[in-house]
Symmetry: C2
């Protein structure tokens, strides 16, 4: 794996701290001290605290947009599309556990990029809903409220960042499969 530049090192350390205490509670002095330097030195590499948050969140949000586009366009059943969405979340989250915390909890502290982020999130949810609606109309999915289904799936997928780090032994592909199974087939015998 390619070595991190100093800037990337700062951003990924920031993501780790943001996960623990949230963006607002982490000071530039906290961040510097976690890297073993003084706060002022950070500014040789980054423009502002806000800029760090932006880098973390927008990069991940665009990965989701890309992934959803490709799933949405693909020529598979709607149930398979939902399984692909689960796999997409598991994969992105496994590679950015810390960043996912910021995306979930600190998006409202985006300033310039807030509107852009909200547009990406909105588009994502609309495509998700379209898949569920088409699945229902083609009788692949049980007749029930599409929004309840999306809410339930998305809540679980958005919480993965809390759970994946605790279960490092668990294979990522296995997790995606058993999660798909639970979400799609339920837990009833």
């Amino acid at each position: 794996m390619r070595q991190e530049t100093r800037k990337e090192e700062i951003i990924s350390t920031a993501a780790k701290l943001f996960k623990e205490k949230g963006y607002s509670a982490v000071t530039m002095r906290d961040l510097a001290s976690a890297l073993g330097i003084k706060a002022a030195s950070l500014y040789n590499h980054i423009n502002s605290k806000q800029d760090i948050l932006k880098s973390i969140i927008i990069a991940i949000a665009e990965k989701f947009t890309e992934g959803m586009q490709s799933i949405s366009d693909s020529d598979i059943s709607n149930i398979s599309k939902l399984e692909s969405i689960v796999a997409l979340h598991v994969q992105i989250t496994a590679n950015n556990t810390n960043g996912m915390a910021s995306l979930n909890n600190d998006w409202m502290h985006l300033e310039d990029q807030l509107e852009y982020y909200l547009k990406l999130r909105n588009d994502y949810e609309n495509k998700f809903l379209d898949i569920i609606r088409e699945g229902i109309s083609k009788s692949e999915i049980r007749q029930s409220n599409p929004e309840v289904i999306m809410f339930s799936m998305l809540s679980t997928l958005r919480s993965l960042y809390l759970w994946i780090p605790k279960k490092e032994d668990l294979n990522i592909n296995e997790l995606a499969l058993s999660l798909s199974d639970t979400l799609i087939n339920g837990i009833n015998t």
Copy 2:
């Protein structure tokens, strides 16, 4: 409904602001201005910012502890216990939407009461797991990873605070039922 005291008014306004921006990003001046007074005046009613957070979180956490105790003790099937847990979350969340945001996102900013909160949460999750394990061993619940099941259910239930306020038209009991159905029976046809 009983009229709120000034102290309760401060706490519930704080909960609303904490939901929007998180505990750390809300200043005592923000809170005061939302109430139409000056920051110093708050201290005629409350001891500290920290104390407000504690009041919000611990009160709700204890309601969950109580509710889980009574479900755990009751003499019904394990599937019914899971349905009761869903109903418990829906009911508590509907009555404390704002506070639930703090419980979910700002518990780590508890100071003196952090340990106590973590104990309550831990006990809650253990009782939840016990119900799932017993359900599996009695073949009420499909053979699969109990932790995946709990994680998936709990993620959805913990996100209710984001969702309930958007669907005020939706009946609370209906929501509990359709959610139980989705979580327990899945979405497959």
